[in-house]
Amino acid sequence: MSLDETDPVQPFDHPLTNPSDQSTVGSTSAVHRLTIALTSASMVVGVTAIASDLEPRWQLSLWLVIGLVSIVVAGVVGSKFSKRRVDSVAPALILCCYVTSFVLEPVLRWAGTGRPLELVLYEGLLVTLPVFAFASAARRWVALAGTASLFAVLFAVCLLSSPIVALLTVAWVVVGVMWLLAVTRSRSAGERMIDQTVRRRWAVPVGIFVLAGVMASMSTGRDSLSLAEGWLSSSGGDGEGSEFARDGVGDGEALVAATTQAESFGPIEDAPFARSDEPSMYDLYDDSYGEPMKIKKHDKSVSLAPEDVLEGENDMAQAESAGREFSTLRRPRSELRGGVGDLASTAMFYLAGRVPLHLRMQVFEDFDGVHWREAKPRKNHTPEVQFETHAEKPWLLVPQPTHAFEELLSSPEAHALKPVHFDETRIPLPPNATGVHIHQVEKERMFEWAQEDILRMTRKRLPKLVPIHLMSRRVDEDVIDNTLASIGAGPHELHVLPSHPDVAQIRQLATQWSAGTESGWSQIQIVLDRLKQHCIFDPNATASPDSEFPVGDFLLRTKRGPDYQFATAGCLLLRSLGYSTRLVAGFYADPTKYDHVGRHTPVDGGDVHTWCEVRLGGKCWATVEPTPGFVILAPPRSLWYRFKTTASRTFAAAMNAWRFLAGLSVLVLIMIWRRADLSDAIETTYVTATGRAQDPVVAWRLVERRLDRVLPVPAGWTPRHRLQQLPVSADIKAELDALIGRAEAGAFAGSQSASRPDDKLDIEVLRHVSLRRLRRIRSEMTAGAAA
């Protein structure tokens, strides 16, 4: 069966017309040859996809020739071998070839020419293609060879979308159709495997499972590929850095500023601006929250008992000096022209990386009861702008907290944002940022610190369409309580409470909510949780225009308000418990807006958000979220960590309900142990109660299942054959024989049943061949065999 045999399609090779030819290899070799062609085609597609960018160009041709020659040679060698020999060596060969790609990788990486994981996997598959060409000489490997070939082509198409790959794929499809025809023809000529009729039971559940998985992934309404994000190690998406990755944010070399297609980062063409082309942060506050009201300045106050007044309140006057401010007394948004609706349809910038993410734009420390004042730079806290080069890229270094907080912070994580319509000089920075990088920007004078932790560029606005890379660390809440003895020591201005009668009530509320808890992170969480339950989040709620202390109205009376009221309330509650807090305004990158196709999150005017930060000490701030519905990004968790957490939680829950679980376990164990008796009892009761046991077919099936459970026999044994071997008394044998006769008449007599009206079935037979008796017979048989 060499390659140059006759025409592969032989129309008249049916065994009936040519009986002596049915075991010869005419049709098999046609299938083999077409399988070789199919694997060759997929090899061409695959090699083109991964080697098309090799320089010089002749390398691609070289790899193509190597691939094709090895497939053809392997195929010819396979046809010279006996089928049995091919069968015996194929699995080992496939495994060896596949593993080669992995074994080679460390060497390549050492030599500096490593490949990303997906290419390691894929090239392993390409290397096995010649083995499949070899193995498909034996009929049972043909289907697997076809599947491998299909997978190779699918991967290639996903890897590189170029016209040449598309063209080659079409060619592969043509070969594939011919291959399918040949396989079908050879099957109809009676080459089916004996195994196919016997051992395919698993195929149905597996098929259903796969189908259900596909349906489930489609029903989520997301791109099904996104379900695997973070689980499949690959280029991009997992946040892991690798210098061998092909592309992706934070993977390998930093994302290159768009050179050929600047606006490909996000779909901005379909997002026309209605009014204000590029809003500034203050425009956004006004659009989102409503314009601040002009209020009368007055100092109405009620005198407090000395013990109710915090020392810090006296320092208020000293802190009131910042330039920009944030008012908590605002007009309803509906009074404004336009509104955020216009802006919400358009992204101001796109954020790549994990979300939800809080991005700081402004930090406020002093609160006079109505206005938050922007924190002014402190003395000793005006750091220099410094650059450091990582992987040949200039990174601006953000000052870091002392080593004491090292354990609290996860390893740096990458995000990238790309301003599209954003008229701001401040860079939206995630909390605990460590570095900022803009391609080719390495001059210190391009940046300056606008506030503590707020970086701005010394130009009119952020560069449009240029990606800004951000590295930041997450605070690990799980270790705060363990590592920090006390939270809260900080400058006075972070403790100051405004002077208003409501403040005493707020302090009382905080004390009440935190009663019975020790000072620390968990206390902060408890107070904020109570705040979330206490008030309702309503973005459109506004304070009454003549309110002197809007947050007091919100917290104590209306209990309904937007996020800045929650944030203000949170700050005041925590300050009254002695923690250092500040109000932060900026953006909340909403995970529900994540675009799974573009793999980024658009941030628009509707994402303006206000929240609190608690000072853990030094320069370390922890983001806390007083507003319901907003989530703080947790540190990236390893698979082991997730497993560990789930396991420990499950264990704790199990310990709580151990009596119930123990009882349940015993019950389940008993049910598993006696499952045969249980299901038999249910079945017997059912068929007897419904009268179906009168039907000999039903009765025999029941008996047969009992026999199968206790004394299984090969699939080819007939009921009578089995009865002959059964060591039971002659009476029972006769009973069973009669039952079998009637059951067979019911099952195989067709429409003219051989059953007679006088065939009264004795249900006693069901009792005579009970599971218990069969078990006794079995133990007697084994005892006899042992003797």
């Binding site: 002596s20 009676g190 699939a715 080819g716 067979e744 009206p757």
Partner: protein, 328 residues
Amino acid sequence: MTTAVLEQPDRQTHGEQANLNNTLSAIAAVRDKLNEALRGKADVVEQVIVCLLAKGHLLLEDMPGLGKTTLAKALADAVGGTFGRVQCTPDLLPSDITGFNLYNQKSHEFDFRSGPVFSDILLADEINRATPRTQSALLEAMAERQVTVDTERYQLSRTFFVIATQNPTDQHGTYPLPEAQLDRFAMKLSVGYPAAEDEKRMLADAVLCDKPIDKASVEPTLAEGQLAAIQREVAAVTVTEPIQDYLVRLGEATRSHRDIVIGVSPRGLLTLQRCAQATALIAGRDFVTPDDVQHVARPVLGVRLATDRTSIVQLLDELLNEIPIPKV
């Protein structure tokens, strides 16, 4: 399905029952006669009857002197037909089997002198000693139930039944039957040596009787045309779809088995089904069960499978154990 029939027993069913009883008693009579002629070989006799009722031909492979001829003659006597016999040798010509045209000088015409195939039961002894040419003449007669002599076609008996024998040892100077010809036989049986008890009784009988070999000279037990009628009844026995699926599974398994060089042909499957039908009728049923198929599968498949293994019996046992039977 069963209950519907249970409630309406009609006259036709009773008529059929009486008919079936007649058939069964006729078969029992044939069985008794054969058992009398061939002592202690009830299972062989059973298969011979199946083969006869299924309109198949039988190949007996055994040592000389085990009663092959006795069986054939007893069968001819029992079914009441004529008996023909050919002793195959290398110089046997096709015309020795089919007959030939002889010029009649008186009438100036060719008269046809019929050969031994013009009988109801033909014993072709040591068929593998005949030349392939002669073998194929016989095989045409077996397959078509007709012979062609000098362009003239002659119909054979409707119940024409061939028992061919061959000797498994002493292969010198023989022409083994090719697979295509083996396929024309319904089944291959071997009689085997009788048990000690039966052999002793046989010896005792021989003392009383002058011609122990011709013990089988018995009265015909079947009325004229009864065999053909029973054969028609056999063909009408119900085979439901699950049973036919099982037959197809068996066939496919023989074709894809790695130790079987040539699997069963569609004609072989037809034969298997017909033999299973005959078994069912003999058992008094008008439908086929998996037991019927398995009962005849070994002799029917044994004659037509070419295998690499030394023992086809073991191979068939494996196959029948592995292929799942249709569940009740």
